[in-house]
C-alpha cells in the first residue's frame, strides 16, 4: 500500500521543474513558446517515457508522468507538448509495429512532432464525435473538421479520433496530406497556437489507422489519458495560483498589516489549499488508473479527476485573482494566463457535468442499480 511517488519520480519532477523555471518564464509565455523548449524537454525523456523498451523508449507509465504534467500546469507549458505526449502514448500502446518503429523514435527525440485532434464544434467526447471516414475502394475518405488542435501547423503527424462507420478509431494524418487545410484559431489560451483542421475528401488507408483497424477501446483510452492529463495540468495550475496568492498576501500590506493576517483572507487560502490537495489525490489516482486499472475503473478515476480538478482549479485561480485585488486583473501580473488556460482545459475532453454523469453511471452499473 503506497499512494506516493518514489524517489526517482520525485527526482524527475525536480529536473523538469528546474528546467521549466529557466526555460519558460512569464516573458516567454507572453511572447510565444521558446523554440528550444521542445528539444530541452526531449532531453529529459518525457517524449520517450511511454514508449516500450523494445521500441527504444523508457517503458514507463502515466504514473511516472503525473508529477511532470503537474509541473507543466504549474509552468503553463504550452498545450502542444502534452498533446504530443498523449498522442505518442496512444501509438506506443495501440500502434502497429510499423507505426511504432516509424514514429516513436523521432517522437522520443523531439524531432518528430505529434499533435492530437479530438474536439469538434459540437463535441469533446468520443460518443458525440461526428467526423466520419466513409469507405472507398482504396480505403476511406474523410470530410469535416476538428477544432482546437494544438499547433497543428508545427506537427508532423496528427492523431485524429474519428468514426469508421459505427466504430471509433484513431488515424494518423500529416497536415500536409492532400485535402487537409489548417486554419489558425483565436482562443482564450494565449500560450499556444491552435488550429482548426479541415478535411476535404482526405484519403485514409489501413496503414493510417492506429493498430491497423478502428479500435473504439483505443479511442476511449486515449481520451481518458488526455482528460487525466488535463486534470494533472489543472492541478499544477491550481497549486501555482495558490502559491502566488499566498506569497502575495504574505507581502502586501494594507491598513498597516500584511493582508495575509486578515482572517477572511487566511480562511480563503485554507480552502484553496484543501482544494489543491484534493486535486492532487484525484489526479494522481487517475494517472495510476491509466496504467493499472481496468477500463471501467480507469473511466471512473479519470472522470472523478477531470470534474473535480476543473471545478477546483477554477475556484483556486479565481480566488488567487481576487486576493491580488486590483493587480489581480491586470494583464501584466499574468494570472489571467492561468484563468484562460484552465477555462480551455475545463471545456476540453468532456466538461465537469459530463464526467460526473459518467461517474454516477459507472457506479450504478457496478452496483447493479437501474438508471
Amino acid at each position: 500500500m503506497d499512494f506516493d511517488f518514489n524517489q526517482e519520480q520525485y527526482m524527475f519532477q525536480d529536473t523538469v521543474r528546474d528546467l521549466l523555471a529557466s526555460a519558460l518564464t512569464m516573458e516567454h509565455l507572453r511572447s510565444g513558446t521558446p523554440a528550444e523548449l521542445w528539444g530541452q524537454l526531449a532531453e529529459t525523456g518525457v517524449f520517450a517515457l511511454l514508449t516500450r523498451e523494445e521500441d527504444g523508449g523508457l517503458g514507463l507509465g502515466y504514473t511516472d508522468l503525473a508529477l511532470i504534467f503537474e509541473e507543466f500546469g504549474r509552468a503553463l507549458v504550452p498545450a502542444p507538448i502534452a498533446a504530443a505526449i498523449v498522442a505518442g502514448g496512444a501509438i506506443a500502446r495501440f500502434g502497429t509495429p510499423e507505426q511504432r518503429a516509424q514514429l516513436l523514435p523521432g517522437h522520443g527525440e523531439g524531432a518528430l512532432r505529434l499533435s492530437s485532434a479530438f474536439a469538434e464544434t459540437v463535441a469533446t467526447v468520443p460518443a458525440a464525435m461526428t467526423l466520419t471516414a466513409r469507405p472507398t475502394d482504396a480505403g476511406w475518405t474523410v470530410t469535416g473538421s476538428k477544432i482546437l488542435v494544438p499547433d497543428a501547423a508545427a506537427a508532423d503527424k496528427l492523431l485524429v479520433a474519428l468514426r469508421f462507420g459505427d466504430d471509433l478509431g484513431l488515424a494518423l494524418v500529416e497536415p500536409s496530406r492532400a485535402g487537409v487545410t489548417l486554419r489558425e484559431q483565436d482562443t482564450l489560451d494565449l500560450t499556444a497556437r491552435y488550429h482548426e483542421v479541415i478535411f476535404d475528401h482526405v484519403t485514409l488507408t489501413a496503414g493510417d489507422i492506429v493498430g491497423g483497424r478502428p479500435d473504439p477501446a483505443a479511442v476511449v483510452a486515449c481520451f481518458d489519458a488526455a482528460a487525466a492529463v488535463a486534470a494533472l495540468q489543472m492541478t499544477g495550475m491550481a497549486a501555482r495560483t495558490l502559491d502566488e496568492a499566498v506569497t502575495y498576501v504574505g507581502q502586501r500590506k494594507q491598513f498597516d498589516r500584511v493582508i495575509g493576517s486578515f482572517q477572511a483572507i487566511k480562511h480563503r487560502c485554507a480552502d484553496m489549499a484543501v482544494a489543491v490537495d484534493a486535486c492532487r489525490s484525484a489526479a494522481y489516482y487517475a494517472a495510476w488508473a491509466l496504467d493499472e486499472a481496468a477500463p471501467d475503473e480507469r473511466a471512473r478515476a479519470v472522470s472523478m479527476a477531470k470534474s473535480w480538478c476543473g471545478d477546483n482549479a477554477r475556484f483556486t485561480c479565481n480566488q488567487a485573482i481576487q486576493l491580488h485585488g486590483g493587480i489581480g486583473f491586470t494583464w501584466e501580473l499574468g494570472l489571467h494566463l492561468f484563468l484562460r488556460r484552465i477555462k480551455c482545459e475545463e471545456a476540453s475532453f468532456g466538461d465537469a457535468d459530463w464526467h460526473r454523469e459518467r461517474v454516477i453511471g459507472a457506479t450504478l452499473r457496478s452496483m447493479e442499480l437501474a438508471g
Binding site: 464544434t121 491598513f255 481576487q322 486583473f329 484563468l339 475545463e346
Partner: protein, 396 residues
C-alpha cells in the same frame, strides 16, 4: 406597493425615448455598435455625451442653475433604464458628471463651480480620478503621493493607479498628502489638476480582458495652483469620503441591471440556437438550472434596487445597502459568465477573431471582464467589512 410610473413620469420617459430614437444612429444595437478600437470608442462616447448635452439630457440630476434638469429620483431611474433599454452608450465623462460635480457642488468655491461645472456638463472637459495608489487600494488613506507648497503652487510627486480615461481627460481630482507628519487620515488634501501640466505621464494598464480602461499616472514635480485646492488644506479625506458616497445609487443600478438582463437574454437566445450533441444547449436540464439561477439572481438584483430606490424616494438616507447590492450583483454576474462559458461548451475557448466564435466572442470578453466585478469600486472583502460593521453593527 405599486410598480407603475405616474403619467408625468411616463411623459418624461416617452420624451426621452423619442429623443433617443431620433439621435442614436440607425440600426443602433442591432447592426451598428460601439467602435471596437478603444480610442475610437472613447471619442464616440465623448461625442455622444456632447449630443446628450445639446439635447438637454446630460447631467439630468444636476440643479437647473448649472445646466441640469433637477431631475427627480424617479426620472433618474427612468433615464438609466431607458438608456440601458436603448443600449445607448454611456457618456465618457462619468467621473466628471458624478463625482467631480457633486464634490464641487458641496465643497467647491464659487470660483471653482463657475470655472468647472459648465465644461463638465457640456462634455468639453473630461475628468479622471487620482485616488488609489499601488499601496493605497482598499486602504485609501495610505496615499503617499505628495503635494508640497511652493509659493502659490503645490508641487505634486507620486503615482496613482486605476485612473480610468486619464488619456482622454483634461482634469484630474487628486488626493495628495500635504502633511506627512499628521495621522494618515488628517494629512490629505483634495486637488484639481490640469492634465496638461508638465510632469504628468500616463501609462495604460492592460486588464486581463486585453482592454486598457485603466492607467497608471505618474506625477513628477507637477505644479498645481493653490486655488485648485478644494476645501481646506489637509481636509481632503472627509471630502473624498463624501465623494465616494456619491457613487451611483439604486437609480443607476436599475440601468445596470437591465444591461445584465440583456446579456442574459442574449445568452438564452444563444443557448437555444447552439447545438450540443443531438439537441440544443437550452434543452439540457443541467444548463437550464444554471441559467435559471442566473435569471433568478438578475431579477432579484432589480427587485433589490427597486426596494432600495423606494426607500430613497421616501427620503431615507443612503446607507450601506449600496454595499449589499454591489456584493450581491458582482457575484451573481460572475456566476452568469461562468454559466455562459458552460453553455458554449466545446466552443468556449474560441474568442472574437475566430470563425466559430459564438456571438463574436462577447461571452468570453464578459467572462474575463467579470473577474474585476468583485474587485473594483470596493472589493467584496471591503463590502463585507462595511456590511458587517455598518449594517449589522459588528465590532471593527
Amino acid at each position: 406597493m405599486d410598480f407603475t410610473y405616474s403619467p408625468k413620469d411616463l411623459a418624461f420617459r416617452d420624451e426621452l425615448r423619442g429623443w433617443l430614437a431620433a439621435n442614436l444612429p440607425q440600426g443602433w444595437g442591432e447592426t451598428v455598435f460601439l467602435p471596437e478600437d478603444e480610442d475610437e470608442n472613447a471619442m464616440f462616447r465623448l461625442d455622444w455625451e456632447r449630443k446628450l448635452y445639446k439635447g438637454g439630457w446630460n447631467g439630468i440630476a444636476w440643479p437647473k442653475d448649472y445646466g441640469g434638469r433637477g431631475a427627480t429620483l424617479v426620472e433618474q431611474a427612468i433615464f438609466a433604464e431607458e438608456m440601458a433599454r436603448a443600449k445607448a452608450p454611456e457618456g465618457l465623462n462619468i467621473i466628471g458628471r458624478n463625482l467631480v460635480a457633486t464634490t464641487l457642488l458641496h465643497h467647491g468655491s464659487d470660483a471653482q463651480k463657475a470655472r468647472f461645472l459648465p465644461k463638465i456638463i457640456s462634455g468639453e472637459e473630461v475628468w479622471c480620478q487620482g485616488f488609489s495608489e499601488p499601496n493605497a487600494g482598499s486602504d485609501l488613506a495610505a496615499v503617499r503621493c505628495q503635494a508640497v507648497r511652493d509659493g502659490d503652487h503645490f508641487v505634486v510627486n507620486g503615482q496613482k493607479i486605476w485612473t480610468s480615461f486619464a488619456q482622454y481627460s483634461q482634469w484630474c481630482i487628486l488626493l495628495a498628502r500635504t502633511d506627512p507628519s499628521a495621522p494618515k487620515h488628517k494629512g490629505i488634501s483634495f486637488l484639481l489638476v490640469d492634465m496638461k501640466t508638465p510632469g504628468i505621464t500616463i501609462r495604460p494598464l492592460r486588464q486581463i480582458s486585453g482592454e486598457c480602461e485603466f492607467n497608471e499616472t505618474f506625477f513628477d514635480d507637477v505644479r498645481v495652483p493653490v486655488e485648485n485646492l478644494v476645501g481646506e488644506l489637509n481636509g481632503g479625506w472627509r471630502i473624498a469620503m463624501t465623494t465616494l458616497a456619491y457613487e451611483r445609487g439604486p437609480e443607476d443600478a436599475l440601468g445596470r441591471q437591465l444591461v445584465f438582463r440583456q446579456e442574459l437574454d442574449q445568452l438564452l437566445a444563444t443557448a437555444a440556437k447552439l447545438q450540443r450533441g443531438n439537441r440544443s444547449a437550452i434543452e439540457d436540464g443541467l444548463l437550464r438550472q444554471k441559467l435559471a439561477k442566473s435569471l433568478v439572481g438578475i431579477e432579484i438584483m432589480r427587485l433589490n434596487c427597486l426596494r432600495a430606490f423606494s426607500k430613497s424616494l421616501k427620503g431615507a438616507p443612503r446607507g450601506a445597502e449600496a454595499s449589499m447590492n454591489k456584493l450581491y450583483w458582482s457575484h451573481v454576474m460572475q456566476d452568469m459568465f461562468d454559466t455562459a462559458m458552460e453553455v458554449l461548451g466545446p466552443l468556449a475557448p474560441l474568442t472574437a477573431g475566430d470563425a466559430h466564435a459564438v456571438d463574436g466572442g462577447r461571452f468570453q470578453l464578459g467572462f474575463l471582464r467579470s473577474k474585476a466585478f468583485t474587485i473594483y469600486s470596493g472589493s467584496s472583502e471591503i463590502q463585507r467589512n462595511i456590511i458587517a460593521e455598518r449594517v449589522l453593527g459588528l465590532p471593527k
